[in-house]
């Protein structure tokens, strides 16, 4: 099963292939701030520091939301990115 390494928590979890990062983490009791779960609100932006190629491709919805949130090239939305192989995900916390 693919592994998600979550930083800065330093937790490694295993998820069934095709699970989103958000659902995978939630099932293991790890809370990631989120709202819509449909790739529109941008609250669950995370930076993929390794294994980006092991995530499902961005949909147009996710792409527009990432642009709306001024996201960087390595950023993804946890509710949209499905895990297909090992990834390392940095959860970006609110700085306000």
């Amino acid at each position: 099963m693919p592994k998600i390494t979550l930083i800065p928590l330093n937790r490694v979890i295993e998820v069934a292939a095709g699970t989103t990062i958000l659902v995978g983490a939630t099932r293991q009791g790890i809370a990631i701030t989120h709202d819509c779960t449909e790739g529109i609100c941008g609250t669950d932006i995370a930076r993929i520091t390794a294994g980006a190629e092991n995530l499902s491709a961005k949909t147009e919805t996710e792409d527009i939301t990432l642009e709306t949130m001024d996201a960087g090239p390595d950023d993804r939305l946890c509710c949209m990115a499905k895990v297909l192989g090992d990834v390392t995900v940095e959860i970006i916390e609110e700085d306000g």
């Binding site: 701030t33 709202d35 819509c36 449909e38 529109i40 609100c41 941008g42 609250t43 669950d44 932006i45 527009i64 939301t65 642009e67 709306t68 949130m69 001024d70 609110e94 700085d95 306000g96």
Partner: protein, 293 residues
């Protein structure tokens, strides 16, 4: 006098430019399309006069974008604007064979419509917690009317009395996308007291959940608060929410509207923009207040 700007930076779900995600996203969609299609495009909008306020109007016009609420003014293609469109308008556009090149309706507005349709299809009586003057009402009313059903609008606990249903008739409650969560909880509590079969879908948008608490924080921390905005959705909610904390709430549409007399005796003043207010307007307001200090 100390001037404090409401801190929206880094709030999840609020774009860095301080607009709400629905408005900023619609602008991105419209700009992407105008560039790609390279031909004049018309936005059908519930409020065409305001469609470009958040952006540079001249820039949009240069790119061949205009806005209207009259389908007669549209020849071939249109974009639905951020505030969405009632089903009757969508049907009429389809009947006329107009091409919908994009739907920039805020996804939270879409979710709210879907929740309304779902509740109505389940046979529930639709109750909407909302200011009756909100621009979103005609859309939801249009959806209910299409299905031949009433819509009960409840802005405060007092209007629950006006719902002419018996205790066991089922109700489906949705909420205006822009609504203060504390009022929401209060009204839901009162609905649970009065009705026995209550279905709830919280359709408040992320901007309400994030921006309004900042308004409260700012209103509590300062002697007076200036809200820069003009929308009857978010701006009105921000003013209402601030007024629940302090009497000194001033709503302006432009930095020119500031009146120094408002701040006499104030040690501190807070400034915050609404969901369609461009950053320069908030900055200019802060600068002018600092010059008074």
């Amino acid at each position: 006098m100390k001037v404090i700007r409401g801190n929206l930076k880094g709030k999840k779900g609020i774009p860095r430019n301080g607009l709400c995600l629905g408005v900023h996203r619609a602008g991105i969609i419209e700009r992407r399309l105008a560039k790609k299609l390279n031909r004049p495009l018309t936005i059908w909008s519930l409020r065409p006069d305001n469609e470009f306020l958040a952006y540079d109007k001249a820039d949009f016009q240069d790119r061949g974008l205009s806005a209207t609420d009259n389908l007669d003014e549209i020849d071939d293609a249109l974009i639905f604007g951020v505030r969405g469109a009632p089903p009757q308008v969508r049907e009429e556009a389809a009947k006329r064979g107009l091409e919908i090149v994009a739907d920039a309706t805020c996804p939270y507005v879409v979710e709210q419509e879907e929740a309304a349709v779902k509740f109505l299809e389940l046979g529930l009586n639709l109750v909407m917690l909302s200011d009756p003057n909100h621009h979103g009402i005609p859309r939801i009313r249009g959806i209910a009317e299409k299905l031949g059903r009433p819509l009960f609008i409840v802005p405060t606990v007092a209007e629950i009395e006006d719902i002419n249903l018996t205790r066991n008739e089922p109700i489906g409650v949705i909420v205006q996308t822009t609504f203060w969560i504390e009022s929401y909880k209060e009204i839901i509590g009162a609905l649970l007291d009065r009705f026995a079969d209550v279905h709830i879908r919280n359709t408040a948008c992320i901007d309400s959940l994030q921006r309004l608490p900042v308004v409260v924080e700012l209103a509590r921390a300062t002697d007076a608060i200036v809200i820069v905005g003009w929308t009857e959705g978010m701006t009105t909610r921000m003013v209402e929410t601030a007024k629940s904390c302090t009497d000194k709430v001033f709503e302006i549409k432009h930095p020119d509207d500031l009146d120094p007399a408002w701040f006499r005796g104030a040690q501190s003043v807070g400034v915050i923009g609404a969901n369609e207010t461009p950053e320069w307007m908030v900055e200019e307001t802060v600068n002018r207040l600092e010059a008074l200090a």
